[in-house]
């Protein structure tokens, strides 16, 4: 039985600290896999969080017959771990742009549109916890869709709701987040 499955079962039993453990495991796994892929340095490469999350699922749990709620726990923890990785990276990039330590930059790959995507990322991150206290289901959806890049169908399956509900939640969430970011 894999390490991840053990932790998932602990989460299901409601063991204290189990969710934290699961998060730590996934954080390490996702980060490591991202580094491995990035080291390959394929030209024009874009690395999608959703690919990393799904690979982690296959690698860590895959053929171990996880229960439905196990799957939910896994993807929630994975999306939180992905959130942290993305935020760390966006913050580091922001520091560097404002004159922090330099790194070698390949000008060919420079994308001037990228900064605003990062700004959105950081802004969403900052208000998301507040959203979770008022609208927990919607906030959970944002994490799965936005940080883990899951499709509507995948989110519906993990959360046990219909696809149309997912779409409604998503429309609401975008409005809520935008409103909060601009006026909050």
């Amino acid at each position: 039985m894999s390490d991840a499955t053990v932790k998932l079962e602990a989460v299901e039993r409601g063991e204290p600290g189990a969710a934290e453990d699961l998060f730590v495991l996934l954080y390490a796994e996702l980060r490591r896999n991202a580094a491995v892929k990035l080291a390959r340095e394929l030209p024009g490469q874009t690395l999608q969080p959703t690919a990393l999350v799904h690979e982690a699922w296959i690698r860590l749990v895959g053929d171990q017959n996880p229960t439905f709620s196990s799957r939910a726990h896994f993807f929630h923890a994975a999306s939180e771990a992905m959130r942290r990785i993305l935020i760390e990276r966006a913050r580091r990039k922001r520091t560097e742009r404002h004159g922090g330590r330099y790194r070698r930059v390949d000008l060919d790959g420079f994308d001037p549109a990228a900064p605003s995507a990062d700004e959105h990322l950081l802004a969403v991150h900052e208000v998301l916890d507040k959203m979770a206290s008022e609208h927990p289901a919607e906030a959970q959806l944002v994490k799965l869709k936005y940080f883990a890049g899951m499709t509507n169908e995948e989110v519906a399956e993990v959360m046990g709701i219909s696809v149309s509900t997912v779409k409604n939640y998503w429309t609401f969430s975008r409005a809520w987040l935008l409103n909060e970011i601009e006026t909050g």
Binding site: A35, E41, L47, R89, V105, D106, N168, R174, N179
Partner: protein
């Protein structure tokens, strides 16, 4: 979750299903008497109008950019091909060295050097392969063999070398309080190894104390030159599209860089760069410091380094070295009648390359008088 939040969500969703003109009436009905709720929903509806593509573009996060490293990749316990990493034993601007165990065809311990990301692995390996034949033909007791080369799973080049358990030559001399004569003897042995390689057409390109390790054989110190073939393979080429702003990672070892290397004119570096580096080494062995203050070098910009190295370095080195030889002769308590004679005679010449050549000549003479190792 409050009932109000829930209803805000539901009212919002329902309102969107209605045509815009019907929304006001709908809100009047559902939010009757609850101004708070109404405000909330209206704010949300307005935000929805403005939302456009907001968040529709998911963070692709790792797009179009090369990241150096997110934490260390290879670590003890990892397996790279038929080598198992055991522990880290060195680190530099170019990458990391591990003590590793080779599993097959024989079990033995080796030094495995993984080059940092950011290099074009294919061309590094190709350049190494081009020299591999020549390297394999080298068989000298003072030259450590490079056994293998390849790419890790993460796509980085690695080299496997004969494990040399020794300490760098300058440290060895200092820690063991070697006399001038003993230092010269070590130096001459190093020259012998380099000359041997030059005769085979191989240039080291990165001679410096950390590539010259001293081990003990039967109680006698023996220097071993490591990293032959690696400097050439991993040599960076400048392109106009790349910015190097992290100085030390790029420049390597400025204290030992010869004028032609500093020029980076793209001309082939020949044996003269090695000779130059040997001159700097001799200076350091005799005086305990490099001709140019390392700390000062680190703070200079790249252009200044080039200027200094190209114009003045050699001159200053030569002067300093021959002064060092003068002092060396004064401190020697025996009459020089072996290979040192010509070497010390250089103190009048003020040309460090000339000095080194004399040392190389001395190596040929002196070789015969040392024990076979």
């Amino acid at each position: 979750m409050s009932a109000e939040s829930n209803s805000a969500m539901q009212i919002f969703t329902e309102a969107l299903r209605l045509p815009p003109e019907a929304r006001r009436d709908y809100l009047d009905r559902t939010c009757a008497g609850d101004e708070n709720l109404r405000h909330k929903v209206q704010a949300l509806l307005r935000a929805n109008d403005r939302a456009g593509r907001f968040l529709e573009e998911l963070p692709s996060a790792f797009a179009g950019e090369r990241v150096q490293q997110i934490g260390a990749i290879e670590k003890p316990g990892d397996r790279i091909g038929r080598y198992q990493l055991q522990k880290q034993i060195g680190e530099g601007g170019w990458g990391v060295v591990f003590l590793a165990e080779q599993k097959e065809p024989v079990r033995r311990q080796v030094a495995l050097k993984v080059i940092k990301p950011g290099m074009d692995t294919k061309s590094v390996i190709a350049r190494f392969e081009a020299e591999r034949q020549a390297l394999a033909l080298m068989d000298h007791p003072q030259i450590a063999h490079v056994l293998d080369a390849g790419a890790t799973q993460t796509g980085r080049p690695f080299f496997v070398m004969e494990l040399v358990r020794g300490i760098k030559i300058t440290d060895y001399c200092d820690q063991n309080s070697l006399t001038t004569r003993e230092r010269l003897e070590l130096f001459i042995k190093v020259c012998g190894a380099i000359q041997y390689a030059h005769q085979k057409g191989i240039i080291h390109r990165d001679i410096k104390p950390s590539n010259l390790l001293v081990t003990l054989h039967d109680g006698r110190p023996v220097p071993k030159v490591i990293d032959f073939g690696i400097a050439k393979a991993t040599e960076q080429r400048l392109t106009n599209k790349t910015l190097f702003t992290e100085f030390t990672a790029f420049i390597g070892t400025p204290a030992y860089m010869s004028p032609e290397q500093a020029e980076m004119s793209g001309l082939d570096i020949d044996t003269r760069s090695d000779i130059y580096a040997l001159g700097v080494l001799l200076y350091e062995l005799l005086s305990g410091t490099t001709p140019f203050d390392r700390e000062r070098l680190r703070t200079l910009g790249f252009d200044e380094i080039r200027r200094i190295t190209a114009n003045q370095h050699e001159l200053l080195c030569s002067r300093a070295l021959t002064e060092g030889l003068q002092q060396a002769e004064e401190s020697l308590d025996c009459h020089v009648h072996d290979g040192f004679g010509n070497l010390l005679a250089c103190r009048q010449v003020h040309d460090m390359r000339h000095v080194v050549h004399r040392a190389i000549d001395a190596a040929a003479v002196v070789d015969a008088s040392f024990d076979d190792l």
